[in-house]
């Protein structure tokens, strides 16, 4: 694959020399290869830094949270930025994913005799348990997304917001009160679910992040994604052109819930304790803030703002008293001066950047190149 890329580049060169304005392009496989290499390099370097001690335990913990909130923000972005709805109950799906994954892993590891130490050492059984648990958490959340989405998506705008908020609060109260169901210990009630094995690490959290981003990205580039974007831009027009709006709205909502559940599953392992109070209304708002601040409909925006907004409060611990006020002021000012979010709808594509560089189209030379292209045409 790597060879193909180099031949492609090399093959483009003489052509470029003879026919002056033939645009050099990167083939899709080459783009995948470049991105895969970079992601793997990132994971390996990060993992080495964690195991080598260059990243402290605390920093590693914060980084895992960054990964979790990236998935949360990007998954909410499906429903907000791409579908154009405003659900305010994303934390509810997170808690369902977290509880179901944590309970699943606790029960199964008890049954087959796997200890927390095994999870730290990372035996193959634990790896399998992690994958199954995270997918199980996601599926549980997706199922609840389906149950909630069908009635909720009949409503529009603010009513949809408030009904999803209602569902999330109901989920929270239910989690609070089903600590024992017919003698079977379930969520631990208000004191929380404890004894969750530490099944997350830098490596597996960010591997899940990469897979989630890839899946969401490819989904949005497919015909399903285009249908979802069409609904956002104009629901009536989309319906008139043959998009099954009910189906695609529910579909986007369920996918959004699935990834929130995946993030919740990671969250449970990262924090080690699940308590319903952590998944209140304010958590949903926190995630919505990440999406809107980054720019609705921009995956890069969600990733950047989730990263910044997770690290910022930690970095400002020294100013503990003022940090939340500063956070609020930043939020208000950003909205006043940049209402479309930091990135707007801009999305980053490494492949496109490389293509521009290959063609000598530097950002500052763009205008000149455009003029030449116009003149040639």
């Amino acid at each position: 694959m790597a060879n193909e890329k180099s031949t492609n580049v090399a093959g483009a060169r003489p052509e470029g020399a003879t026919a002056t304005r033939a645009r050099r392009t990167l083939s899709t496989p080459a783009r995948y290869v470049i991105n895969t290499i970079l992601v793997v390099a990132f994971l390996v370097i990060g993992d080495l830094m964690v195991s080598g001690g260059a990243i402290s335990r605390y920093q590693g913990f914060v980084l895992q949270q960054v990964g979790i909130y990236i998935i949360m923000a990007v998954s909410l972005n499906i429903a907000t930025g791409y579908l154009g709805q405003l659900p305010l109950g994303h934390a509810g799906f997170m808690s369902i994913g977290g509880y179901s994954c944590a309970i699943f892993i606790i029960r199964v590891s008890e049954a087959i005799g796997v200890t927390s130490q095994d999870f730290i050492n990372g035996t193959p059984v634990c790896g399998l348990l992690f994958v199954v648990g995270v997918v199980f958490g996601g599926l549980c959340a997706a199922l609840s997304g389906l149950v909630i989405g069908i009635p909720a998506l009949r409503l529009k705008g603010d009513y949809l917001a408030i009904i999803t908020l209602g569902f999330a609060e109901i989920i929270r109260v239910v989690m609070l009160n089903i600590d024992t169901v017919v003698g079977f210990e379930l969520t631990g009630g208000a004191k929380g679910l404890i004894g969750i094995p530490p099944y997350t690490s830098f490596l597996n959290v960010f591997a899940v992040v990469a897979i989630s981003l890839f899946l969401i990205h490819t989904m949005m580039k497919s015909r399903h994604g285009r249908a979802i974007l069409a609904i956002r831009d104009n629901e009536i027009a989309a319906e008139a052109t043959g998009v099954n709006t009910t189906y695609y709205k529910t579909f986007a909502f369920v996918v959004s819930a699935f990834f929130a559940g995946v993030a919740g599953a990671l969250y449970a392992g990262c924090i080690g304790v699940m308590a319903p109070a952590r998944f209140g209304f304010m958590k949903s708002i926190e995630i919505l803030v990440m999406v809107v601040l980054g720019g609705m409909g921009s995956m890069l925006g969600s990733v950047v703002s989730a990263t910044v907004l997770t690290i910022l409060p930690e970095a400002l611990r020294a100013f503990a008293d003022y940090r939340m006020i500063a956070y609020a002021v930043v939020l208000i000012l950003t909205m006043i001066f940049r209402p479309q979010g930091l990135m707007g709808r801009y999305d980053f594509s490494l492949g496109n950047v490389i293509e521009h560089l290959m063609n000598g189209e530097l950002p500052w030379a763009r205008k000149k190149a455009d003029k030449e292209a116009d003149a040639n045409a």
Partner: protein, 291 residues
């Protein structure tokens, strides 16, 4: 006996929700904004009362005036600083700004007053009235009467005065109202002042009933009142009152049959059922979307 007490409790709680819901409804009716900061304005009102009475030792009547005035002023200030620059921005941006304002007020209060609860002194010193063998709380009666009077005054204001007509015109069509010579910004500020003054009254009634102020007290109160406003049909004054009373009664009823841990869930379940059956709330108007 218990039945009468429960009915009174329901009416009292429902009245507080109704007052707060009225504030939500007015602001939503005019600029289509879910004012997340509304619950926090109540919190500020309760703190003003506490400062006036416990720290400065002022007479409760002065504390009441200060709280209501302070809340009204705060409402106008929030509108001018945070919402007015965003009149033409996407609605979600204003919503996020409202959330920012809410964070700001909560954390500001925590910074100034500390995270622990402050005990608000009693406004009135009144024993319970004994009717037959039932004890009727005077505070409950005051709450119900004040709410009824406030609602009546508000209805008069909106339906019969010139400013009220301007408010209804702006809420119908902002552009057309401007062309008719209505000063839109003044009207919106006035709406915020009235809505926030109602929040101030709500704050006093709430402090009378529960006698404490905490930085986060506005969140749940605000959320429930908001649910009440949506339940009744957001934008409608009688709707807000009906919604408030419904939420109050539902909570009291659920607590009375010994399921108080589920009361929040019941309130939200009620909301969901109503919205599924009547998507714009009990008294809400349906708006047809034009293509």
């Amino acid at each position: 006996m218990t039945f009468l007490t429960q009915v009174l409790n329901g009416l009292q709680l429902g009245s507080i929700y109704a007052l707060v819901a009225l504030g939500y409804t007015m602001v939503y009716g005019i600029i289509l904004l879910l004012n997340f900061a509304h619950g926090d304005i109540i919190m500020v009102g309760a703190y003003i009362s506490w400062v006036a009475m416990a720290s400065l030792g002022l007479h409760p009547a002065i504390a009441v005036v200060l709280s209501i005035g302070g809340c009204a002023l705060l409402g106008v200030l929030i509108d001018k600083v945070a919402y007015a620059p965003l009149r033409n921005a996407p609605r979600l941006s204003i919503l996020i700004t409202a959330i920012g304002v809410s964070y700001f007020l909560e954390n500001g209060a925590q910074l100034v007053f500390g995270a622990d609860a402050k005990v608000v002194p009693a406004f009135v010193d009144a024993p319970n009235i004994v009717v037959g063998d039932a004890h009727v709380s005077v505070i409950a009666v005051i709450t119900i009467v004040v709410t009824a009077v406030s609602t009546a005054v508000l209805t008069f204001l909106v339906q019969r005065t010139k400013l009220g007509r301007a408010m209804r015109a702006v809420s119908e069509d902002m552009g057309a109202a401007r062309l008719m010579g209505i000063n839109v910004n003044t009207t919106i500020s006035f709406t915020f002042a009235v809505g926030s003054a109602l929040a101030g009254i709500g704050a006093i009634l709430y402090s009378m009933a529960y006698a404490q102020a905490t930085p986060t007290m506005g969140i749940m109160l605000g959320t429930k009142a908001f649910v009440a406003a949506v339940l009744g049909g957001i934008g409608s004054i009688p709707g807000a009152v009906i919604g408030g009373l419904l939420v109050g009664f539902a909570e009291v009823l659920v607590s009375a049959i010994g399921l108080s841990v589920w009361k929040d869930a019941v309130v939200f379940a009620l909301l969901i059922i109503v919205l599924i059956v009547r998507p714009t709330g009990i008294l809400g108007r349906t708006m047809n979307e034009k293509v």
